[in-house]
Amino acid sequence: MNPEFRKHAKLELTPLRLLLPLVVLLLGAWAGWVSVTEIGWENLPLEHYKGESLLYWTCSIGFIFTILWGTYLCTSTITEEVSQKSWTFMELSPLSTSKILFGKLFGSTITIWIITLFFGIPILAFAVSNYIPDILAPRNENITITMFIAGVLLWIVATHAFAFFTVLGTLKLKLPKSAALAMLIPVIIVSMIFGGLLLENINDYTTMHHKSNFTNYNGLTWESEVLKGNNYEVEGDWYRYKMQDDNWYDFRIPQLDKITLLIAFIAFWSIIGSYRILRETLQYKDTPWVWFIFMITAPLFLSGVSNSKYEQTLEFPLYMMNILLLLVCAKEAGDIIAYKTWIRSIKEKSWKQALKYTPLWLISFMVLALYFLFLFVYSPLQASFIKDGQFSLKMIELYKINSALIVLCCALKDILAFHIIFWWKKIRRPLIGVVVYLLIAYVIAPVILHTLWGQNASFLVAHPIFEIDYSIKNILNSPLLNNNTGIINMIYWSILGSQILVFGFLFNRIRKSTQERLER
């Protein structure tokens, strides 16, 4: 058996830790089931209401044990080992990274998994099967239950793995244990949102009404509205609004399946992320191909998931790539030794070594640049004009080229700024410095400028990269509209260009002094 798994199982699997949550879960489930004795206004069978109550009780108790407690357990495998200084033994063991990861993720949460798999999931399946009425089922009930259960299991795995990744990443940045644990709060909040989405989508399968509940409103009648209308599904005296499928790009997909797919995607990348960061901790140095794939797949996948037509455009990946770039740049900018090793490897023409030490922000920047090139070729092909010379909505495709170029330039400016902040010895907490810089550049400065000189002024100094208002493009691409605002466009580019030059100059100075310091 995997020794890491066995070690954690020995530490965690005690009768008390197994029995206490089990008793609480069973009592809660029992209370949820027996507490409902009357049917609701929808006039559905009593089992529906009992199933609903059972589902919510189980989910609430399950959330406390699997997400809150489970997340704490799987992350404390790192924090505890670091604080009690047994981490080195694990680093020294010849165990493979995958075995260590599996042991830590599932060994530390073994009690939770035993209770979830043997008790929680059967109770959930029973609850959902009662909750979903037998009539007017939009699809086979077993498929719905399977997708929901799969979603729940993936949700737990994704939360644990993402928390593990976050805490290990925080500790790798040499931040204290308290900071690592504080990072769990946003993880739990995000997890709650996804749990809520799963529940919300299972609710959609249960919303149906009896004919007697149909309200005669503004002269609408059961016959005219429901029986003749196309928005309802009817079976005998029962009706429901037609369930709407969702989209992943142009593929039709039920909403529950879509959210499960999204959670699966997050779970997959969280596990991969945890695996890679654990390898890094164990002194493995890998080539950055995983990051390269992630940089491409994550924005493209998530762009398709979004319900917003705008975000489904080619522009959404651009912004997401930029956010990822800034995140890794903030992580890597301070590692001067890694840069030194990278440059030495290049000088020695040790290409494999150089690839291993290539900063991930550089990979991200290259992907961003490639995407810009793609837009440069693709977008004009999508643009079209109508005969009278006015531009059509498709003209917006052309703006993407300009937006992409701005994002690229802003990314370059931010990369330089991050390095200045991290390499400047006087800044003792560079991570906070980076946050302050981003706040000033993209929130405070535009707001002040907007207040003082109006909207255009704020765009002139700092283009808020997350801004999706088309008016930005109207200003920036003004030569396409009229000649008067072409000056504004020129001023904008001059300011952005000079910002890059100033940051470049400062970076070069600080680079030289850092190099001299290292040589001493």
């Binding site: 020794p3 066995r6 010849p94 002194q283």
Partner: protein, 314 residues
């Protein structure tokens, strides 16, 4: 096949604002117990962590029993054991549990290897106790047991004696000598040089991230064959006696205290030679009231090296 258990060449390790290790090149033969000594901040722990594959150096090569530890750290861990100065055990697990864990990690037959290491380290009496309940001395033993359960060829111990009482230190010394007899190459750092003397066969002096000296037992013996003899006199030394004493001194020099009541000469350290020296002093009617040969120890050697180094810096 190389006779060196540890080979390091041109090793450089940088912290963001300073060089921690600079151009380290060492070769440690198999079967040696090498003492790694140096002042605080010299880079001892960093060097040991690099050797154990826990930190990646900026440049250079490290080979542990022929395995490139920088590029294959996990493979190298099968050949080496390492115990840091501030290691911790899994407090809630029993000694047997943690040893079973380590045996499992090394894919060893669990029962046999655990029983063997328990006997070797003589920890039978605490094997069923929780690690959190052990004293510092026992924890140290369990830590070493965890580090050597897979019978590594190289054992690296960072300050293993810190915090141990005299009895536990003596036991540690015995353990290390036993492990050496079994063929293990040991690199051990400590501040307590007198203790290193008991078991080390070589000394590696590290200062400001640079190797200042690497002395083997043979070299040490040669250096310690001559020692200082402090001769106390009941009356101040006369010029005639001084000349005679100078002739007796190995380097033909003597040092005399201000009150001329104590003379130090260099002489061979063997008992017969010291006996001849004493006889000669008495034959010459030199008023000897005390006779103290001072053994040149690892400590004095280290201090001499450190002093020479400081002088060179000046």
């Amino acid at each position: 096949m190389s006779q060196n258990a540890i080979t390091v060449s041109s090793l450089n390790y940088y912290y963001p604002d300073k060089k921690a290790l600079e151009n380290i090149t060492i070769q440690i033969p198999k079967g040696e117990i090498t003492a790694l000594v140096g002042p605080n901040g010299a880079g001892k722990s960093t060097l040991m962590r690099c050797l154990a594959g826990l930190d990646s150096p900026f440049s250079g090569e490290i080979s542990i029993c022929g395995i490139d530890i920088i590029n294959n750290p996990r493979q190298g861990h099968s050949k080496l054991g390492y115990l840091s100065d501030d290691f911790g055990l899994y407090e809630e697990l029993t000694v047997k549990d943690v040893l079973e864990y380590m045996a499992g990690c090394h894919e060893l037959p669990i029962k046999d290897s655990v029983d063997t290491v328990i006997k070797r380290l003589k920890i039978e009496s605490v094997q069923d106790k929780k690690c959190g309940a052990l004293s510092r001395g026992w924890k140290q033993r369990v830590g070493i047991a965890m580090a050597v359960i897979h019978m590594p060829e190289v054992l690296i111990l960072d300050e293993p004696a810190s915090g141990l009482d005299p009895e536990a230190r003596s036991e540690l010394s015995t353990i290390l000598k036993d492990l050496q007899k079994e063929g293990m190459t040991i690199l051990v750092s400590s501040h307590i040089l007198s203790e290193l003397e008991e078991y080390s066969t070589a000394m590696l002096v590290l200062r400001d991230g640079k190797i200042k000296d690497h002395i083997t037992l043979e070299q040490q013996k040669a250096l310690t064959s001559i020692s200082s003899v402090h001769i106390g006199l009941s009356s101040p030394v006369t010029p005639a006696q001084k000349i005679h004493l100078e002739n007796l001194s190995q380097d033909k020099k003597i040092s005399v205290t201000e009150n001329r009541h104590t003379v130090t000469i260099q002489h061979k350290n063997e008992p017969e030679q010291l006996n001849i020296l004493l006889k000669s002093l008495l034959d010459e009617n030199i008023p000897v009231c005390s006779f103290t040969p001072s053994q040149s120890t690892l400590q004095t050697l280290y201090l001499e090296i450190a002093q020479t180094d400081k002088n060179q810096d000046k």
